[in-house]
């Protein structure tokens, strides 16, 4: 079964890059522009993993994770953070909120794929 990955980022270029990379690897990609949009899409679609930015308007990455983890459909769904710097404090907050893993920006396409493969087995 084709796995569906939700990418949440307020930066269109990052979303496009993530989408291109994952689509090329045979995955389906849904895009969302902020945490709230991401929450709506994560809870109304079948997603197998979520990649989210931290710093976003409306609902930031950590707030998104907290909200999404309250929703029963998030059980067992890996959430990968995109962090700009390896900010230990933010990472810790995100992990406590329920993040599964992270990728430090800037990342290469194969790094992204490696992490997605790691958490979804895809």
């Amino acid at each position: 079964m084709t796995k569906t990955i939700l990418t949440i980022d307020d930066s269109a270029s990052i979303r496009q890059m993530v989408a291109m990379t994952l689509t090329a690897a045979g995955l389906d990609v849904i895009e969302a522009v902020n945490g709230l949009d991401g929450y709506d899409k994560a809870t109304t679609n079948t997603v197998h993993a979520v990649i989210t930015d931290l710093n976003m308007p409306v609902l930031n990455g950590i707030e998104f994770i907290r909200k999404y983890r309250q929703h029963p459909s998030s059980k067992g769904i890996p959430i990968i953070l995109l962090t700009t710097e390896s900010d230990e404090d933010l990472k810790r907050q995100a992990k406590e909120a329920g993040a599964t893993g992270w990728i430090v920006k800037p990342f290469k396409q194969d790094q992204l794929l490696a992490v997605i493969k790691k958490v979804t087995g895809a």
């Binding site: 291109m20 109304t44 459909s73 430090v104 958490v119």
Partner: protein
């Protein structure tokens, strides 16, 4: 432009973010304590940095990183927002802009800007931050390759919430098995009694005996995301006889545990089937995207095609009108309705709020205010007013000029203002508002207003008017639009960059717009640009002169009257019509176009107006209204004054579109000529 190239997307996005950044900084200048503004400014920087590094704009990422670090101090309240900071931050924004637009060109000045920035946000407490890290994870880089393979025993328990939070132990075990030959044993000692068991928690631990060369780094890699809150021990196995091979039962057991525990728990998410159904129906999904980026060329192409469709539809309507076939007529009518709907929708797509343009001018006014030492309040209204995208692009330069003029020449210095009983701070207003099928954009200032005497002096000096010409103040004011009336005598760094008001006027004429000017001495001036909503398709009035057909933009038409018979007989070359008591000059298009042949017996006059006045155009026949798809004249015909373009009629013939602004102008000069002749006589 290739829209599927993320680098180009990044550039576009960066441009928008920089605009946002600039607006944020200017807002902060007004409202330094606003924490939300600081945060949104910070976020814009952060996104530029993150994406910049992703798409190879290393210089951008490094520069923004430092910029961001400085701003972080502001965000944390360790440093205050002040005018100096905003000034440097705006310079920094310009620098980023350069770095993004010309990534290959060597661009200096970054170090200076950063140094100033650091000095302002208190340099000593400002560590030069390390450059953005490029590696995903460097923990794995410590492997020592020279040791021989040995046997290792790894024991680990996952955090209790690992399953809930998306970790799949099966995948971890697969990764471990890939490091080296492994024997995997589940550790069930922590599984509680059923009554206290939380089915979603991870209780099982694992013991993995593997043969590998110093697997510590690789194992760290496997548990990258879990390492800091899990239990994990790794110890070398004493060089014993290979441990008893794992019994088939246990292996099977492990397998069943694996397949039964993790995936079962994962799949146990209750609403899964419901979600599946929702996805199938797609019914209660929110709309996938609220906006879509499309290259501008595609919109132009679409508009062209719609134009062609409108022309084809006009032909059909014409043929249907001559036919007795009721079915054909029905189809023609239906198609007419559809194509006019399509036309409106297409034009709607091209509409962009003018606010995007307005926001650029805030920076302009901010900079001008600083350079000229004139405190200015810049007020914009009607940002949501929408105009054709092409129009907005072409309005930028004229508006820059008008705003510069308002600030430089319109507003007085603070002392003069105070002396005149005004507040020291001048006001420049930029507003946009719909009026009918037009948009009116005004630039107004509360400065001294135009000085008729000075304009007169300048016009005489430049030979635009004769020294003894009698002109009303209103006429004098309009001289500022005359070619050759330059502010050259008072060139400053700001105004008078060789672009005179005549260029502004020509641009606006080219957009089929008009300029109005009102001014009150001592109270200020207002320049109003009136522009049609779109450039591509207009409603026109089709007329016939001789054998040729011409289109007059309907928006310019005021009324149509019959040319009184025998009017020439007593007019003696003075071509004026008496329209309800006011004299309107008229032009015989037959003569203007140099057509031969007899005029029709009953000629009509179409009265057209533009901002400055009215003129009657004498035509042989008024055919009626039509949708006019404007085609530009070729470069060869760019010298032609009386026509602004051409259109294709329903029968495939071409009709020229009359340039009403130009014709009104010739009508007016005709009056002036006549008046001077009259006076001379």
């Amino acid at each position: 432009m290739n829209i599927s190239d993320p680098t180009e997307t990044f550039r576009q996005e960066a441009r928008e973010l920089l605009d946002q950044l600039e607006a944020g900084l200017l807002d902060l200048d007004q409202d330094p304590g606003n924490h939300d503004l600081v945060n949104s400014t910070f976020r814009a920087l952060h996104t530029i940095k993150g994406s910049g590094a992703m798409f190879g704009f290393t210089a951008v990422a490094e520069f923004v990183h430092e910029f961001e670090t400085a701003f972080d101090r502001v965000r944390k309240g360790q440093s205050q927002v002040n005018a100096a900071l905003i000034g440097v931050a705006l310079d920094a924004k310009d620098h980023i802009h350069l770095l993004i637009e010309t990534p290959d060109a060597p661009i200096d000045g970054g170090a200076r800007i950063l140094a100033e920035l650091r000095a302002i946000v208190d340099g000593d407490a400002f560590p030069s931050a390390p450059a953005v890290k490029a590696e995903l994870n460097q923990a794995a880089a410590q492997a020592q390759p020279n040791a021989a393979p040995a046997r290792w025993r790894l024991r680990f328990y996952l955090p209790g919430d690992a399953l809930l939070y998306g970790t799949n132990p099966l995948l971890l075990l697969e990764e471990l098995a890939a490091i080296g030959p492994s024997e995997i044993t589940p550790l069930t000692d922590r599984i509680p009694l059923l009554d206290t068991l939380e089915p979603e928690n991870a209780y099982i631990g694992w013991q993995v005996d593997m043969t590998a060369t110093d697997p510590a780094a690789a194992i760290d890699d496997v548990f990258l995301f879990l390492r800091d809150n899990m239990e994990l021990t790794l110890e070398p196995l004493a060089d014993q006889a290979p441990s008893a091979p794992i019994s088939p039962e246990i292996a099977a057991d492990a397998n069943s545990l694996l397949t039964n525990s993790a995936p079962a728990l994962l799949a146990a998410a209750p609403p899964a089937p419901k979600r599946g159904k929702a996805a199938e129906k797609g019914g209660d999904d929110k709309p996938a995207a609220t906006s879509l980026r499309v290259p501008a060329e595609r919109l132009d192409e679409l508009m062209d095609r719609v134009g062609e469709l409108v022309i084809a539809q006009a032909r059909l309507t014409q043929i249907a009108a001559q036919s007795a076939d009721i079915n054909l007529k029905t189809i023609a009518e239906e198609l007419e309705r559809l194509s006019s709907g399509l036309r409106d929708t297409t034009m709607g797509i091209r509409m962009v709020p003018i606010g995007t343009l307005f926001s650029r001018f805030r920076r302009l006014v901010h900079d001008l205010s600083g350079e000229l030492g004139k405190p200015i309040e810049f007020i914009t209204t009607g940002e949501e007013t929408e105009l054709d995208k092409t129009m907005i692009e072409r309005l930028a330069d004229p508006l820059v000029h008008l705003i510069r003029n308002a600030v430089d020449h319109g507003l007085e210095g603070p002392e003069k203002r105070l002396a005149a009983g005004k507040s020291a701070q001048g006001t420049v207003r930029l507003s946009a508002v719909y009026s009918g099928a037009e948009v009116a954009i005004s630039v107004s200032d509360d400065g001294a207003g135009l000085n008729a005497a000075r304009i007169r002096a300048k016009a005489e000096e430049n030979g635009i008017i004769a020294p003894d010409a009698k002109l009303t103040d209103q006429e004098l004011y309009h001289l500022i639009f005359a070619p050759g009336f330059s502010t050259a005598g008072e060139v400053t760094a700001l105004s008078g960059r060789g672009v005179g008001m005549d260029v502004v006027k020509r641009t606006i004429d080219g957009l089929r717009g008009t300029i109005d000017l009102t001014t009150r001495p001592g109270e200020g001036s207002t320049l109003t640009l009136r522009l049609p909503l779109t450039l591509a398709i207009i409603d026109g009035m089709l007329v016939r002169v001789g054998d040729g057909r011409y289109t007059i933009p309907l928006a310019a038409v005021e009324e149509c009257v019959e040319l009184p018979e025998g009017i020439e007989a007593h007019a003696k070359g003075r071509n004026f019509l008496d329209i309800r008591g006011s004299l309107v000059p008229y032009l015989r298009l037959r003569e203007v176009f140099g057509l031969r042949g007899e005029a029709d017996e009953h000629q009509k006059v179409v009265i057209v107006s533009s901002g400055e006045g009215r003129v009657g155009l004498v035509v042989d026949q008024i055919i009626g209204n039509n949708q006019t798809v404007i085609k530009q004249l070729s470069k060869l015909h760019s010298g032609i004054k009386s026509f602004s373009g051409a259109t294709i009629l329903g029968d495939g013939t071409v009709a020229l579109i009359l340039d009403t602004a130009h014709l009104v102008g010739s009508g007016q000069s005709y009056i002036e000529h006549n008046q001077s002749v009259g006076r001379a006589a």
